[in-house]
Amino acid sequence: TLLPNITAIPPWQQHPNATSFAAAWDAFTKFAGCHSGETRDGLSKLKQYFSNFGYIPNSPSSNFTDDFDDELEKALKAYQQNFNLNVTGQLDDRTLEQIVRPRCGNADIVNGTSSMNSSKSSSFQTVGHFHTTGH
């Protein structure tokens, strides 16, 4: 939908709290406070999100569970590092706020290689196969 200006947005979408157009990611806000060891319905979709953007190594046989496991925690830490968030490994409010934001579909980590912040620390090299790139 190409709108000549801001006032041309359809009325049904103009209410700031309208939910009819909410992206699927908004559902992730229900995971606030979730941490390692827990099991929550839908966490598999969050893992798929992290997989889509390169934080969980892509595997054709990926069959994500709803467990908050080590794989998710490592992905979360790398994500938090990349977005200059506190690296807690938990789904805190600030992290979730960042996750649900509209974004570019290109991955942050391509082929297991990240050149964003997460490559600057050796702490997260277990996510994929990071290689440090000097600039």
Binding site: T1, L2, L3, P4, N5, I6, T7, I9, P10, Q13, Q14, P16, A18, F21, A22, A23, A24, W25, F53, N82, F83, N84, Q98, R101, P102, R103, C104, G105, N106, D108, V110, N111, T113, S114, S115, M116, N117, T133, H135
Partner: protein, 198 residues
């Protein structure tokens, strides 16, 4: 700034690039002008030039709006979520989610409507990918991956400029400011006006 693995870039013999719009989208001149402006952000700081062509099949860069699964393995997801994606050099494919509420002109920052997305903001970002830049952790940079609703960010930051100039070098007329500088190579529009000036 970051690069794609292997640091792909447009080769030396392909620095004067052409771009074309998916004919089926039937975009207006006003919409096309947004992309022209976005390309100029990058050409102002590099030796690269960008020229629109009607020949979609031979253009270096192809731009199209698509909905849902559009055949490249990266389906769009409707309003918000993923807004657009672009491929690394020398693919030239630039896809935008047709289901977004793309605001072509006007001050998107004056709206609290969460579904409004400024078209030029996303265009400048995706062109960065087309030229070889990956995502940046610098929040003010064009290549930062997320966009806050109702925001507009179209000026290259130092991080973006350093990144793209390390791939292609600097525009000889670039003076260290992101303000476009007139060059002898400026293309004149059909009515004789120079598209951008110092």
């Amino acid at each position: 700034y970051t690069f794609f693995p292997g640091t792909p870039r447009w080769p030396v013999n392909r620095r004067d690039l052409t771009y074309a719009f998916l004919p089926g989208n039937e975009l207006t001149d006003e919409v096309k002008a947004v992309f022209t402006s976005a390309f100029q952000k990058w050409s102002a700081v590099t030796p690269l030039t960008f020229t629109e062509t009607d020949s979609y099949s031979t253009a270096d860069i192809t731009i199209g709006f698509y909905s849902g699964d559009h055949g490249d393995g990266e389906p769009f997801d409707g309003v918000l979520g993923t807004l657009a994606h672009a491929f690394s050099p020398t693919s030239g494919r630039f896809h935008l989610d047709a289901d977004e509420n793309w605001v072509v002109s006007g001050d998107v920052t004056r709206s609290s409507i969460p579904s409004a997305v400024d078209l030029e903001t996303v265009a400048v970002h995706e062109i960065g990918h087309l030229l070889g830049l990956g995502h940046s952790s610098v929040e003010d940079a064009i290549m930062y991956p997320t966009i806050t609703s109702g925001t507009r960010k179209v000026e290259l930051e130092d991080d973006d400029i350093q990144g793209i100039q390390s791939l292609y070098g600097s525009n000889p007329n670039y003076n260290g400011s992101t303000t476009p500088t007139a060059t002898t190579g400026d293309r004149e529009s059909s009515d004789g006006e120079i598209p951008y000036l110092a």
